[in-house]
């Protein structure tokens, strides 16, 4: 998660939690909506996970038919068509359709709700920022670059918006997706699952290496943007 930038030297992780907590305090009003979005996310994930398996069972039915047919061929009989249980396939496919439609609906609701919530949160934050600025003494205005403050009000807010709107939903979805898929994989074959999990520590290592680096760069970038803004305004 990106944190709002801080002027001055790059700050340590403990600032990260402080700012995150503040951000969370903004979401308090919207808890019911967020809960709904999370539920939708879970629902969508379940649909997304179960449908491939169900679809897979359709291919299994096809495969069964093929194998039965191949056996007949190998036994020397001429086979014009493989005995595939189409009735079964139809029922499976109908279930799949329902799953997909539900998944679509869940995704939609989730996204719509989060859009509304994130825009409202950012609206509130901008409002509070303005109100705070209004209460501050004039000496604050003299001591700070107008462009920098403005950059925070516009550019940084934009970033928070994007984060809440897309990144957060992705985070929730991915989180549940991880466990859901893991469960599915285990039901298919726990041996294969174990094998796949071996690659997990490697991925974690890669991410933990790159993510903080990119964080510092993003922070610096936003800081520079503020400085730039200040310079431009003067002209």
């Amino acid at each position: 998660m990106r944190t709002p930038p801080v002027r001055g030297p790059v700050t340590k992780p403990h600032d990260f939690w402080h700012t995150t907590r503040r951000l969370i305090s903004y979401t308090r009003r919207w808890i019911p909506g967020i809960v709904l979005a999370i539920l939708m996310a879970i629902g969508g994930v379940i649909m997304d996970i179960v449908s491939p398996k169900v679809l897979g069972s359709a291919t299994t039915v096809v495969f069964d038919g093929v194998i039965a047919g191949m056996r007949k061929v190998n036994a020397g009989m001429t086979v014009r068509s493989f005995p595939i249980d189409f009735k079964k396939i139809v029922s499976i496919l109908m279930i799949v359709v329902v799953l997909y439609v539900l998944s679509g609906i869940f995704q939609l609701v989730q996204q719509v709700v989060m859009t509304r919530i994130s825009q409202s949160i950012v609206y509130q934050m901008r409002k509070d920022l303005k109100a705070k600025i209004t209460r501050l003494p004039v000496s604050f205005y003299d001591g700070h670059s107008k462009g920098d403050i403005l950059s925070r009000a516009v550019n940084d807010m934009d970033n928070i918006n994007t984060m809440l709107q897309s990144s957060l939903t992705q985070l929730i979805t991915s989180f549940f997706m991880f466990f859901g898929v893991l469960f599915m994989m285990l039901t298919i074959s726990w041996k294969l699952t174990l094998l796949a999990l071996l690659t997990l520590p490697l991925s974690i290592l890669v991410v933990s290496f790159f993510a903080p680096k990119s964080q510092t760069f993003f922070r610096a970038q936003q800081h520079e943007l503020g400085v730039l803004n200040g310079q431009v305004r003067v002209v």
């Binding site: 679809l55 096809v62 068509s81 939609l108 825009q119 609206y123 107008k146 403005l150 516009v154």
Partner: protein, 585 residues
């Protein structure tokens, strides 16, 4: 959008990005084929050795894919940032060349948003373009080809459904694109109101308008949020709709596929591969649509940036500029039948202005508010262009000189003193980059600024806040004047620069100017509203209603010019003494 990219992006690097992307996509496309081969030849025929060899192949191909992705990202990121940097640079340069009219056309807040926020928008999209927007069609094409190879019949499903998807997404886009355009405009507005609140805090608070300002901001804020909600809600429909349609496609694939398999016209492995490719087509379609969603916002930003860059330079330097002569040439300033009109005005702002002054002389321009004084002044350094007639500096017509050369001959003090954040010294060096501290102190002395800039309270290292807001109006003016006289020039122009000074300081300053050696040989042009300021000028021009209605010395004008006499009377009381109530005019 492409216009912006031209010449701001290294074509080689973009080519590199595309090549890497191709490699990455090929590896992505190759893998499902290998998988289907493994299923058909390896698993179905129980050929373990084959599975191993194909497995290693896959590993190798994936690894290459990762490297290719890395290469692509590197180029994508650097190129997009470069483009952003160059665009900002170009805009900044352009804006410094803007005429006053151009500035007013855009407004400072909008220019601000364009150089910052809009550039950020195009930067972000640029990265996505170089990464995904190319990947999506490539993958789409590749996956389509592969799926056709695997089974031409099943591909017909795509041919039917994909146009449907395109239609739906296109329809949604139609509504979304204009919304994104207005979002940028609304960002402008938020920028504007917030910015005004920051700059005008003293005014707002002293008039107790904080609540009003907050309400104004709230309205703009709400407006922006509402538009955002609308725009992004429409966007939210895109992915679910695509997903649902594609699920139906998958169902159709399995249904018809099963039919074909039972008729032995399709191998099972091919079906699996086909489904994977269908997934890739879905994926690339989704990517394409996401890009198409954010592209409008960025393209709106790009258009705004280009709008700034395409403003025609109204002041164009000469093709073959005349070189400046040496400084032994006696300074002179001449207006020869000059007419001026603002481009949107019906009436001319200046009519038939003619005069000539030489080095050592002081020209004063006096007139009521709006009589064209500042316009006249702005004609000298060619900040605006006369409609008719000619301005000559040092005997040379000013449109035959480069702007740079012309400006090096002139030092102007504007009506509104502009100071920059930094130290006093930094601000002074603006006038003359290689000025020594002694030079600066001398200038400050002449400008009567040593009263408040002393060695004790910081001296030349004293801090100046943004806009010089930590100084009073009169102090700011004096600092600006010091900066003006620091610059060695043939013409010094003071546009209403003494208005914030009291009579005594005003008189002291002008005396100091007259006795300063450097300024003595130059022409001094003073624009003022106070008779006392202009009284001892060599030549006084009286402007009234855009025309020169009087020309001469104070004595001459006081005796014969009715407009001048009017001004005199209003400023000096009936008894001939100085009227205290007219201290600020």
């Amino acid at each position: 959008m492409l216009k912006l990219m031209k010449s701001r992006v290294s074509y080689l690097a973009v080519f590199g990005a595309v090549v890497f992307l191709l490699l990455q996509v090929s590896s992505d496309l190759y893998l499902p084929t290998v998988t289907s081969n493994v299923i058909d030849k390896g698993i179905a025929q129980n050929n373990i050795g084959y599975i191993w060899s194909e497995g290693f192949k896959m590993l190798f191909v994936s690894f290459c894919g990762v490297l290719a992705a890395g290469g692509n990202i590197f180029f994508a990121a650097t190129q997009s940032m470069k483009m952003g940097q160059r665009s900002r640079d170009d805009m900044f340069q352009k804006i410094t060349r803007f005429s006053q009219e151009d500035m007013d056309h855009f407004g400072a807040a909008s220019l601000d948003t364009r150089t910052t926020n809009d550039v950020v928008q195009i930067q972000n999209v640029m990265v996505q373009i170089l990464r995904m927007m190319l990947m999506a069609p490539l993958m789409l094409l590749g996956a389509s080809v592969m799926s056709y190879v695997k089974s031409p019949d099943l591909t017909t499903i795509f041919i039917i459904c994909l146009p449907l998807v395109a239609l739906i997404v296109g329809g949604l886009m139609y509504y979304v694109v204009p919304l994104f355009k207005t979002m940028q405009k609304k960002t402008d507005r938020i920028n504007l109101i917030f910015g005004e609140a920051l700059g005008g805090v003293r005014t707002i608070r002293s008039f107790n308008r904080d609540d009003y300002e907050n309400q104004r901001f709230d309205a703009a804020n709400k407006d922006f949020a509402k538009t955002g909600i609308k725009a992004f809600t429409i966007v939210s429909f895109i992915i679910p709709i695509i997903t649902i349609i594609f699920s139906f496609i998958n169902v159709a694939i399995v249904w018809f596929g099963a039919d074909m398999i039972s008729n032995r016209t399709l191998a099972v492995g091919n079906l699996v591969a086909f489904m994977t490719y269908s997934g890739q087509i879905l994926f690339s379609f989704m990517m394409l649509s996401m890009i198409f969603v954010f592209l409008p916002r960025a393209s709106a930003s790009a258009a705004r940036i280009i709008e700034v860059l395409e403003v025609k330079d109204t002041i164009i330097g000469p093709d073959k500029p005349q070189p400046l002569g040496h400084h032994e040439v006696e300074p002179s300033l001449e207006f020869d039948n000059v007419y001026f009109r603002y481009s949107s005005a019906e009436q001319q702002t200046l009519q038939n202005v003619s005069f000539k002054v030489r080095g050592g002389q002081t020209l004063a321009i006096i007139g009521g508010t709006g009589s064209g004084k500042s316009t006249l002044i702005n004609l000298i350094p060619r900040l605006i262009e006369p409609e008719k007639g000619m301005v000559k500096v040092n005997g040379l017509e000013i449109d035959k000189l480069t702007q740079h050369d012309l400006h090096s001959l002139i030092s102007i003090n504007q009506q509104k003193a502009v100071l920059f954040s930094g130290t006093v010294r930094e601000n002074m060096l603006y006038g003359k980059q290689d000025a020594t501290d002694d030079d600066i102190w001398h200038a400050l002395e002449v400008a009567q600024a040593t009263e408040f800039i002393t060695q004790d309270n910081g001296g030349l290292d004293a801090h100046v806040d943004q806009n010089g807001d930590n100084f009073s109006g009169g102090q700011k003016q004096r600092l600006a004047i010091a900066r003006t006289i620091l610059k060695p020039a043939d013409i010094y122009i003071f546009d209403d620069s003494f208005s914030a000074l009291d009579f005594e300081t005003d008189a002291k300053l002008r005396m100091a100017l007259r006795t300063d050696k450097q300024i003595q040989r130059a022409i001094t042009v003073i624009v003022a509203q106070r008779i006392s300021t202009v009284a001892d000028a060599d030549l006084i021009l009286v402007l009234d209603n855009c025309q020169v209605v009087g020309e001469g010395s104070h004595k001459q004008l006081a005796a014969s010019n009715s407009v001048y006499q009017d001004i005199l009377r209003s400023q000096i009381g009936e008894q001939g003494g100085i009227n205290n109530a007219n201290t600020t005019s």
